[in-house]
Assembly symmetry: C2
DNA sequence: GTACGGTTACTCGGATACCGCATGTCCGAGTTGATGTGG
DNA sequence: CCACATCAACTCGGACATGCGGTATCCGAGTAACCGTAC
């Protein structure tokens, strides 16, 4: 079970975008340059964020990506879901259907005890992610390293 | 982010083993037969469980797998970790090292705010998994479907 | 000075290769139980 | 009847193929800014 590397890129990039002028878009190439990431591949993930409504993309000169809404309204879960997709990590294949006493007409994704236990764990994970926003991350970073915000803003100029 | 299908197999198989005579080992072929699973591939996962100390394997006639300890002492986290490995799903690549003001001598896996937030979510997930045991699953199943235990015991005879 | 049309450069977007890991399978090593024999 | 050596069958264990999704890249479509020209 490995989460896509793009999640890390996306989260850091969203924090970086929260430090820029909200009206101004930043090209993917500039955003990738900050962390020395492969431009095209980062762009692919940013496109996913745009499809999910987290970012807004603009083409042409002075175009690029910008946050679609206030950083306080973008949760970590929003970003993770945009990159990883909405499906759970644990996917019940309903093997109980082939087990002793298994019924073909029962949806074991809902009734199977194992499936429920795994789902409960994932809900706890999602709840933790939904409880923090990009603004929270930004605030913590600013408290720990006051130089981060200006330095990033400069790098994205 | 997709969890190995083997986790589902392993969890159900552990519950099934908890219904058998603790002293008796069950061959992988028999365990696979219950859910119509590919024998060799299930065996591969059971070997991982044995390496992790969840199961005990015995070779030769009358051999097979059996639980290494009381079902109440086997948490879901034990099983998941045995199959998926000990690493977190989110793995901090420390891209901050290449960012503005990044220092090569800092371990960003510990200090990066994004990494910490993701880690906090995974800890919540692990805590939920560690809070439930194979015995808990078994008890719930027995309450919901009293016929399950005898039927499985018969299938593993 | 201003409005406007053409041009240019810039950016995203999706289509296209590549690679590593999960999936799936197979045969050999080791062990246990059974069996037959001799005492 | 019992002990023991041999045999045979059974089981795990790791080594060997295969497919799919994450990784990485590229080129084309579309757009906005710029510039020159005409009024």
């Amino acid at each position: 079970m490995k989460m896509s590397e793009g999640v890390e890129w996306a989260l850091h990039t969203c924090v970086n975008l929260s430090w820029t002028d909200p009206g101004e878009a930043v090209p993917a190439a500039r955003l990738a340059e900050v962390f020395a990431l492969p431009t095209a591949y980062l762009a692919k993930h940013l496109q996913a964020l745009a499809r999910a409504g987290v970012l807004i993309s603009t083409t042409g000169p002075r175009g690029g990506f910008r946050l679609a809404r206030d950083p306080g309204d973008i949760t970590l879960l929003d970003v993770v879901t945009a990159i990883e997709g909405p499906e759970d990590a644990f996917r019940c294949r309903q093997i109980l259907k082939d087990g002793p006493g298994g019924r073909p007409d029962v949806d074991y994704r809902r009734t199977c005890t194992v499936s429920q236990a795994m789902r409960r764990a994932e809900l706890a994970w999602r709840a933790e992610l939904a409880g923090q926003t990009i603004a929270d991350i930004r605030r913590t970073v600013e408290q720990r390293d006051p130089a981060a915000a200006p330095a990033t803003r400069e790098a994205l100029r």
